[in-house]
Amino acid sequence: MGGVAERGEAPLVEQVFRDVYGQAVATLTRVFGDISLAEDAVQDAFLVASDRWSRTGIPPNPAGWIVTTARNRAIDTLRRSKRGAELIEQLVPARAVSTPLDFSEEATMVPDDQLRLIFTCCHPALRSEHQVALTLRLLGGLTLDEVARSFLVSESAMEKRLVRAKYKIKAANIPYRVPPDSELPSRLRSVLAVVYLIYNSGADDSERGALRHEAVRLGRALEELMPDEPEVAGLLALMLMNDARVPARTVDGTLVLLRDQDRTLWDQAMIAEGQAIVRACIRRNRPGPYQLQAAIQAVHCDAASFEATDWAQIVELYDQLMGVMPTPIVALNRAIAVGEIEGPEVALAALDAVVADLNDYHLLHAARGASLRRLGRLEAAKVAYLRAIDLAVTDQDRQFLIQQIEGFSGDK
């Protein structure tokens, strides 16, 4: 982090904004019980800050400064309406209102504020794309423009999405709290799914790498806030070990298979962190889908070369994963792993078993193509790859698949 001095004040202020946005919105949402009011107040406070800080420098506790300023702004806004004035009486004790620019108990940031807000944003009563947009905007501190670009929609479409989601939170009175233990497992699943979806939205696309970093940051924050939930740790480990291999996953924008990756490009520090988390999870012995997926990645990261991969252990982990998450995608990945031990014929049979479920998924056809090629059935392989090309979503995937066909046209 030696870049502070040469980065200059303006970008530094921007960095501070991004770091404190989620905290500040979460704290003010707790104090005022209203997300839109909290957001507006924080944005007002940023305006004041960017003007003042350019003259006076960044204060020692920028987050506290923003929260206090935003709180006072929100109170001013509320005072202007009669109903708001009544609300203030209920929400903020008199002494807090009468002491502007001072820390009140209510506006003191507690880490739980962010946890409460993420459970609100990821409430299952909201549709998935709204959950993701809210989480990125409110907790990630991404600008509207950044969130819109991440999901390839216009700024106005994303704005509408956010407005609708916030409307529902308010109208339906979606609570702002960490769910009780009885509901926690199912509610936590939806939070973890949102974070992982954010991660995957940024995967294999350097343009959207910010989403990966944001997902990892959220994963870290969750892990800190819920240290007793092994699945939270499992998700963080899974993202870290995926992220560690991003530099090797493409060369000049072209996908590189795990088999062919330059493993020296893998980020060993991230891998070590992920593997340490996996080991801690194994000691806890409360396995779940994210921990098992992380364990599979840990085995891959352990191997010095593709040939040195402990496939038997990977298949065993996939068997366990099938036990808790019997989805066709898991079956597909298991089939590929089995093929590395028992050969392409067995893999092909296992892949054919999930064709009915995944007929529209390009990677299934790509995997079938690879197995058929290894069996020397080049015509059938080509048909499978062409189907995969048809179904592929990104140009990068299509390009890769076309290269596969070109590659084996020379096979015997």
Partner: protein
């Protein structure tokens, strides 16, 4: 506190809402009665009811000075509202857990929808001039 409409739908073409045999009917009714007793003792129950079918409904419109009545329903659809509860709950989570209990009692899906306001409009507009 918020108020919610918990409504259930029935299909004109599908299976009837109420169970067939006398025993099933008895079991159904005792589940519903037990649920409503819990709703009442917790202060959740505000109002509720089962509706006659859409064949029994009438739509009223005003065209100029005339009142026009037509055989209902207002919207021709496969699904119609069959019954509802109006409940008071702390927040959506509490309303959802009551909805879950209604689903268990009647064996049908429930739509949970928040009220913008309930009661008399005048109660919400104390500052209306002349009110």
């Amino acid at each position: 506190m918020s108020q919610y409409l918990l409504s259930t739908y029935t299909s004109t073409e599908g299976a009837p809402t109420a169970p067939g045999s006398l025993e099933e009917m008895g079991a159904f009714m005792s589940r519903v009665i037990a649920l409503e007793a819990d709703m009442t003792s917790t202060g959740t129950f505000l109002f509720g009811g089962a509706l006659h079918g859409p064949d029994a409904s009438t739509v009223v419109r005003a065209i100029d000075a005339d009142m026009i009545m037509t055989d209902g329903p207002f919207v021709e659809a496969k699904e119609h509202i069959a019954g509802f509860y109006v409940i008071e709950a702390q927040d959506l989570d509490e309303a959802l857990s009551w909805a879950r209990r209604v689903v268990d009692a009647i064996g049908r899906p429930i739509e949970v929808r928040p009220f913008q306001a309930t009661g008399r409009a005048a109660d919400h507009m104390p500052e209306m001039p002349g009110a």
